[in-house]
């Protein structure tokens, strides 16, 4: 049990200096196809290019099917993917990025009250 306590602390974000801004369309988001664009910038506000960014959408209720997508870079430092939000309710978007220098970034964003269009 002690190991479980020690081992279950969230893995530290090795790139906490990286700024992540989110853009979700449509706004407010609805059930169905949702375009998520994330911008990664360093501490000098320079866009971070050629990162490998994956997005996952999961509901706050356990046991619901998550949605996964790899992003593609649509502009310097801007990564975009389309997720199919399959159900109404509260969702959480999870970002997992690996930077060109090998560091990893983890962020999350809440999407509350997703409803039918």
């Amino acid at each position: 049990m002690v190991l479980l306590v020690v081992g279950c602390r969230p893995a530290p974000d090795t790139a906490s200096d990286i700024a992540v801004t989110w853009q979700v369309a449509p706004d407010p988001p609805r059930i169905g196809q949702t375009t998520v664009t994330v911008a990664l910038a360093d501490s000098l506000r320079r866009p971070i290019r050629e990162a490998r960014v994956t997005l996952k959408g999961t509901m706050t209720h356990p046991g619901m099917a998550p949605v996964l997508a790899e992003t593609h870079e649509v502009a310097p430092g801007r990564y975009q993917a389309t997720l199919d939000l399959t159900m109404g309710g509260d969702w959480v978007l999870l970002l997992q990025a690996t930077l060109p220098d090998g560091r990893s970034v983890q962020r999350q964003k809440a999407l509350r009250g997703i409803r039918a269009p």
């Binding site: 049990m1 479980l4 279950c8 509901m59 706050t60 209720h61 356990p62 619901m64 159900m87 309710g89």
Partner: protein, 487 residues
């Protein structure tokens, strides 16, 4: 109504006896079998508590929320459907309590005024309310506290009070299991009543003590006051098998039976009395049924419109009063109107002068199958559609512990596609409705033999209406929000 006491049911011979089935029977007859099952669930519970407090606070990635609200609830109702109250048998809350009783003997008897289901009904509603108010389904931290709370309550109650007071008079999960297990195909019952008739030691209820030291209990008897020769059905039975181990004549079976038949039988049951005179049990049965509908309603889109309307009417943006009002409407007003109406019509068409409360108490049990159908439909949906979601969570836990035994987490895993689960849900609801019709008719025939159909019709209409309501719920879009009024 012809308010004559129902004739005593002639005990039928047991059907298939699980204790005689190879391997399973041998395991269950082993006195440590319950401890083994409890120990396994205790380890799981401890892992859930630890992960709930210290793991990721995202419900889909935490063992506390995932295993409680998806897997435990789903497996629980399915086991009750196909077997019996095996989760009370394997209850981990009893392990710390039994350990504590080795050192501290409880001296108090459960208060006489509380020797009914009133206290348990309050706690049952409390858990349902807390589930909605604190969005327990979405909070690993709160779910962990709920589990800790259960352990603490079991320990505290049974440290103070003798016998299985927590199980019989408090535990909300236990009350749910007792009601649902009235529909289970297995029952702990006597094999041969002639053997019981000649028994002078009554070990099944008294237990056995050491000859040289009368205070030393070698084997407990039933702690829920269910004397086997006079026991009927599964109400209040935790399948602890103390009676099996205590019986010196090997005369107790885990036997098959007609599911639900105990709902229309009305003998004087050991430790319970007659269902027809137990208003508190009838209230529990109605709470079981209407609580099922309310719990499902809390997950679909229309509930937010209802909450917004109530909030506007009440002039508040606080969730607790709005939720409280919804609970009052769904668990008190609605049953009073519907059940009261059906009871009134039954009395009217049969020309009975019996009190409405008495009619209601007799027929309330007829709704249990429908209620169980709703719980089955709801919980099996979550279990089946999220069946494999625990796999990546366990993989991640092991990875975090530095044990890459099962590789990288397969976060894409889910379960059975919804389109395959929906027909099963419809089936459970419909079976439940059919069960309620059958039980209602049997009760009507038992209590109004001169006009059974007339007495049955109001309850049939009520069951049909509730079935339609459940079907409507089934077809509503799900919308699980942890926010109130969009805040």
């Amino acid at each position: 109504m012809n308010a004559e006491p129902a004739t005593e049911t002639v005990p039928a011979s047991p059907g298939l006896d699980l204790l005689r089935v190879p391997v399973i029977g041998r395991f269950l007859q082993w006195r440590r079998s319950r401890r083994v099952m409890q120990a396994v669930l205790l380890l799981v519970a401890l892992a859930m508590i630890v992960h709930g407090f210290w793991g990721p606070q995202l419900a889909s990635r935490n063992l506390a929320t995932l295993l409680t609200w998806v897997h435990y609830r789903g497996v629980l109702v399915l086991v009750l459907l196909v077997a019996g109250n095996l989760f009370c048998m394997a209850c981990p809350f009893m392990l710390p309590r039994d350990l504590a009783r080795r050192f501290f003997k409880p001296v108090l008897k459960w208060p006489r005024r509380l020797r009914n289901k009133g206290f348990a009904v309050v706690w049952f509603i409390g858990v349902l309310f807390a589930y909605e108010l604190f969005d327990l389904w979405g909070s690993p931290w709160w779910t962990a506290w709920l589990i800790v709370g259960y352990f603490s309550a079991a320990l505290l109650v049974d440290a103070l009070f003798k016998n299985a007071s927590f199980c019989k008079y408090v535990c909300p999960i236990g009350q749910f299991n007792f009601v649902a297990s009235t529909l289970s195909p297995l029952e702990v019952k006597v094999r041969d009543h002639d053997t019981c008739a000649s028994c002078r030691t009554l070990d099944c209820i008294k237990g056995t003590r050491a000859e040289e030291d009368n205070t030393l209990v070698l084997q407990r008897g039933c702690e829920l006051a269910l004397f086997q020769p006079a026991k009927t059905g599964n109400m209040d039975c935790t399948f602890c098998l103390d009676c099996v181990y205590a019986c010196p004549h090997d005369n107790i079976a885990i036997a098959t039976r007609l599911p639900g038949s105990e709902l229309w039988e009305d003998p004087r049951r050991s430790g319970i009395g007659r269902f027809s005179t137990r208003t508190d049990l009838a209230v529990l049965a109605l709470l079981f049924t209407f609580g099922a509908l309310l719990n499902a309603f809390g997950m679909v889109s229309p509930v937010y419109a209802v909450q917004a309307w109530l909030a506007e009417r009440m002039g508040t943006t606080a969730e607790a009063p709005v939720l409280g009002t919804l609970f009052l409407l769904a668990l008190v007003v609605e049953p009073l109107l519907l059940i009261g109406g059906a009871a009134y019509l039954t009395r009217r068409v049969t020309g009975s002068s019996e009190k409405l409360l008495s009619v209601t108490t007799r027929f309330a049990y007829a709704l249990i199958p429908l209620g169980f159908g709703v719980w089955l439909s709801h919980y099996s949906f979550h279990l089946l559609t999220g069946l494999w979601t625990f796999v990546p969570v366990v993989q991640q836990v092991l990875l975090d512990l530095g044990i890459p035994l099962f590789g990288s987490p397969m976060w894409h895993l889910t379960g059975v596609p919804q389109e395959l689960v929906l027909p099963l849900e419809f089936g459970f609801l419909s079976l439940g409705a059919l069960g309620s019709l059958l039980v209602a008719y049997r009760i009507a025939a038992r209590d109004h033999p001169e006009r059974p159909v007339a007495a049955f019709v109001p309850w049939a209409v009520l069951s049909f209406m509730l079935w339609l309501a459940a079907l409507w719920l089934l077809n509503q879009p799900m919308e699980m929000r942890g926010t109130f009024l969009g805040s």
